[in-house]
């Protein structure tokens, strides 16, 4: 089987041992069975067991292995190793803008706090019917492109507004989730949800830079959802 060598530069920092972060140079042989970056990272870990990163499903649905790969956020398990330019080391860094716990593992507390702040659950105060609440296929279609979010944080951590105000700006992932509930015909809290976002920071820090759309590994469009929320705010004001 033909093999080739890939060179990596990996961000390393273990607060238990290191004074400060550094970039580790490491290389590894890959063969035709290695398709994705995550396959290669597992090999790297077999070589140096101290490299720390999160991973789980390895098929792009759990959202664990989001990283900054050659300067761009993405999932290791969906990144093809043939997509890397030849002859240059592959740079692996943690997601930008969040505190680093260790190596490629970031502290996502702030990200989830923002997600939780939009009340990401269906609010419907009618007594639940005996059977399902009815929803037409067309109304259900409104949720496509929204409910598929895997909370990997690729989008929010590529957003300059989120870097500046992670405590005040909900960020693309949280706003996408907010619109997912606003758009749901079964949800009764649209007004309350809009009130919750009517603030100079929570929603309006989005300046449509669209990095979120660019990096989303699921092909979702948070900017579009944010635009729809803004439209609803305007309509409500008139």
């Amino acid at each position: 089987m033909t093999t080739r060598t890939l060179q990596f530069k990996i961000y390393r920092y273990d607060p238990d041992q290191d004074q400060k972060p550094y970039m580790q140079d490491i290389e590894i042989e890959v063969d035709a069975t290695d398709r994705k970056l995550l396959d290669v990272m597992v090999k790297l870990k077999a070589k140096d067991d101290s490299i720390a990163f999160r991973r789980s499903c390895r098929e792009g649905v759990c959202g664990s292995d989001a990283l900054n790969i050659n300067g761009r956020n993405g999932l290791a398990c969906l990144t093809d190793i043939n997509s890397f330019p030849e002859g240059k080391p592959i740079m692996l860094r943690p997601l930008p803008g969040l505190p680093v716990i260790r190596d490629l593992i970031v502290d996502m507390t702030q990200f989830f706090k923002q997600y939780h702040s939009i009340k990401p659950y269906l609010i419907n105060n009618d007594p639940p019917p005996e059977r399902e609440r009815l929803q037409s296929p067309e109304d259900r279609e409104e949720l496509n492109g929204l409910y598929e979010c895997i909370l990997c944080a690729c989008c929010s951590t590529s957003c300059p507004s989120f870097w500046w105000n992670p405590d005040k700006f909900v960020g693309p992932a949280g706003l996408l989730a907010a619109y997912r509930f606003i758009a749901d015909t079964r949800d009764q809290a649209t007004n309350e949800r809009l009130d919750n976002l009517e603030d100079p920071y929570r929603l309006f820090r989005c300046h449509t830079i669209m990095n979120c759309v660019d990096v989303c590994p699921k092909g979702l469009n948070p900017t579009k959802a944010i635009g729809k929320i803004k439209d609803m705010m305007v309509k409500r004001a008139i």
């Binding site: 101290s50 499903c57 759990c62 399902e132 037409s136």
Partner: protein
């Protein structure tokens, strides 16, 4: 090494935040009990997220259906090894549990009249096995994702207290056998804490990573199963592993049976729809064990595809592109990503891939863990519950039907939660005192790992285990290979006891976590190999060369000697057997019959 163990008190502790753990948590939080949910990963990263095709419930939204028909299919699917009381319980509860999810906000697909969309699935038939029925309630091909997120969201609403990125290490069990909580490690700091509780619910999912080729996530390392085995709880029916017919060849990533439910067809190198020969009635929608064996037979007889003739093709090119993009968008994505194929134009290369653990921690249908005792073979272990894939209720018996796993985790997650609430409210009492030395064994295990010199590599040892299981306990099983497999896996077990990690950091030490996971995996692997070697018949997913199809024993099944559950005990590496519950709760027994599709 001296380690401080912080003790925290809770009414209940749940280990695992996948479908079963989250469903149980809703029950406990709504009842106002002080509950801790421990999870190795953020809840929505649990492997329930990867379930695709749907959850079974006889809602009858598109055609007539009945829970009794669902029950019949499940008993037949289990090759009569499933307990009929638990199966009746699950099938009757299905509608209620699915409707609840819809009320939580789960975005099911819809029929034209606004009801939950249902699609056909393997082995699900109407009128006691007559013809395929639309029973699988689906959210496109992302049902597990939609379900897990909806349940996590519901838990936010009811204020469940999560301990995220905490790995449970061992159960705390006293001399009377009562379970008093768990010992766990906070992954970020490496600190060890004890969760002292009156009820402990194991919901840690499957252990599919014992095999080399698996649809399972990296995290599916049988942690609860290993914890139970170390605490003296036997493991039930561990020889029964489901090989899903359609894992992407080479990558192992799952392609849902829903693809065949929507009209997909399996073809061999000659382009033949070979399932017509193996299951003339159900064809591509026969039970998973039947389809997997047919595929392997095609490959073994030289009709496989590709340069090495080592896979078959899953063809959906005849389906309307709108149907594929609407009902199977995730599959289209997976085929592009992992097979390099545009499924609209070309068929997808697939092979049977390890998918689901039918066996596990023995429970009754209330979610209580049961073990052989002085009076009966099913005595409750006080304080211990289990639900979902780590548990064995047993509803799947020798082979699980597609969409019954999501149903299992809903019904038994809820049931375990309800039972725990009832027990805690029925007899309110203070926490029982922790036994002396309750943490010793766990701390010794951690200490051994920290100080091991000249040991074995975690990565290499795990790989040897996975290759051994793949070769010696696969889709078809051979007497000689299984005998050899038992010896080999016991050798691997010795290596596991000497693993060495280079990384000694306290902070998010993933090398340590992987070594501790391997401690759990090996319990599952040994249990599987030993139970498989010992079961001298063919049944469901366990098919061996020396128990062939004969007139006396159709399909090689031997009800006279083997209509019984295996129980593997870690202590002494020994087996016991207990009888299958053939009597349902209210209806007549579904009588033993030869299984054909």
């Amino acid at each position: 090494m001296s380690v401080n163990v912080t003790v925290r008190k809770f009414d209940a502790v749940i280990v695992g935040a996948g479908g079963a753990g989250l469903r149980a948590a809703i029950q406990l939080s709504e009842a106002g009990l002080k509950t801790a949910v421990l999870t190795k990963v953020f809840p929505t990263r649990s492997h329930t997220v990867a379930a695709q095709g749907g959850v079974a419930a006889s809602l009858g939204n598109s055609e007539e259906d009945h829970w009794h028909w669902h029950m019949y299919d499940t008993v037949k699917g289990s090759d009569w090894l499933g307990d009929q009381d638990a199966i009746e319980f699950m099938c009757r509860k299905a509608n209620e549990c699915v409707i609840e999810l819809e009320h939580y906000g789960m975005p099911f697909d819809r029929t034209d009249n606004g009801r939950i969309y249902q699609r056909p699935f393997g082995g699900h038939m109407s009128n006691f096995g007559e013809k395929p029925v639309r029973r699988s309630c689906a959210a496109a091909d992302r049902t597990g994702h939609a379900m897990l997120h909806a349940m996590y969201q519901r838990n936010i609403k009811v204020n469940t207290q999560f301990f995220i990125e905490w790995m449970a290490l061992d159960l705390i069990r006293d001399a009377e056998g009562e379970v008093l909580g768990v010992i766990a490690m906070e992954m970020e700091t490496g600190e060890i804490h004890a969760f002292h509780s009156k009820a402990t619910i194991l919901a840690t999912g499957g252990s599919g990573r014992i095999y080399y080729s698996s649809t399972n996530a990296f995290i599916n390392t049988g942690d609860g199963v290993g914890m139970a085995a170390r605490a003296g709880i036997p493991l039930e029916d561990m020889e029964f592993w489901q090989f899903h017919p359609t894992g992407v060849a080479g990558a192992g990533v799952l392609i849902t049976e829903g693809v065949r439910g929507e009209g997909g067809i399996l073809r061999n190198a000659q382009g033949e729809r070979f399932m017509e020969r193996y299951a003339p009635n159900a064809k591509d929608l026969a039970s998973r064990d039947v389809v997997s064996r047919a595929m392997v037979t095609e490959i073994n007889e030289g009709r496989g595809c590709g340069p090495n003739k080592d896979y078959v093709l899953l063809d959906i090119t005849h389906l309307p592109p709108e149907t594929i993009m609407k009902r199977l968008p995730g599959i289209h994505e997976i085929a592009v990503q992992f097979a390099g194929v545009d499924a609209l134009k070309d068929p997808i290369p697939v092979v049977p891939t390890c998918h689901y653990q039918m066996g596990g921690i023995p429970t009754n249908f209330k979610g209580q863990v049961v073990v052989p005792g002085r009076r009966t073979m099913n005595e409750e272990v006080p304080g211990l519950y289990a639900a979902g894939e780590c548990a064995c209720a047993s509803v799947h018996g020798a082979n699980r039907l597609g969409t019954n796993s999501l149903l299992d985790l809903l019904v038994f997650g809820k049931s375990a939660g309800e039972t725990a609430v009832d027990e805690l409210k029925k007899s309110p009492k203070p926490h029982k005192e922790l036994p002396a030395g309750a943490f010793d064994k766990t701390l010794a295990r951690l200490d051994r790992l920290n100080t091991q010199k000249n040991g074995t590599s975690v990565h290499e040892t795990r790989l040897t285990m996975q290759r051994t299981m793949q070769k010696h306990a696969g889709v078809f099983r051979f007497n000689d290979l299984m005998k050899e497999g038992v010896q080999k896996i016991l050798e691997v077990q010795k290596d596991v006891q000497q693993t060495e990690i280079k990384d000694k950091s306290k902070v998010f030490n993933t090398a340590r976590i992987e070594a501790l996971e391997l401690d759990n995996l090996i319990e599952v692997a040994v249990a599987t190999m030993v139970s498989a070697e010992a079961r001298k018949e063919s049944r469901g997913a366990h098919v061996r060369d020396d128990a062939p199809d004969t007139p006396e024993h159709p399909n090689g099944r031997d009800d006279t000697n083997w209509l019984k559950h295996s129980l593997w005990f870690k202590e002494g590496n020994r087996l016991e057997y207990k009888s299958v519950t053939l009597r349902p709760l209210t209806v007549d027994t579904i009588a033993l019959k030869t299984r054909a599709y």
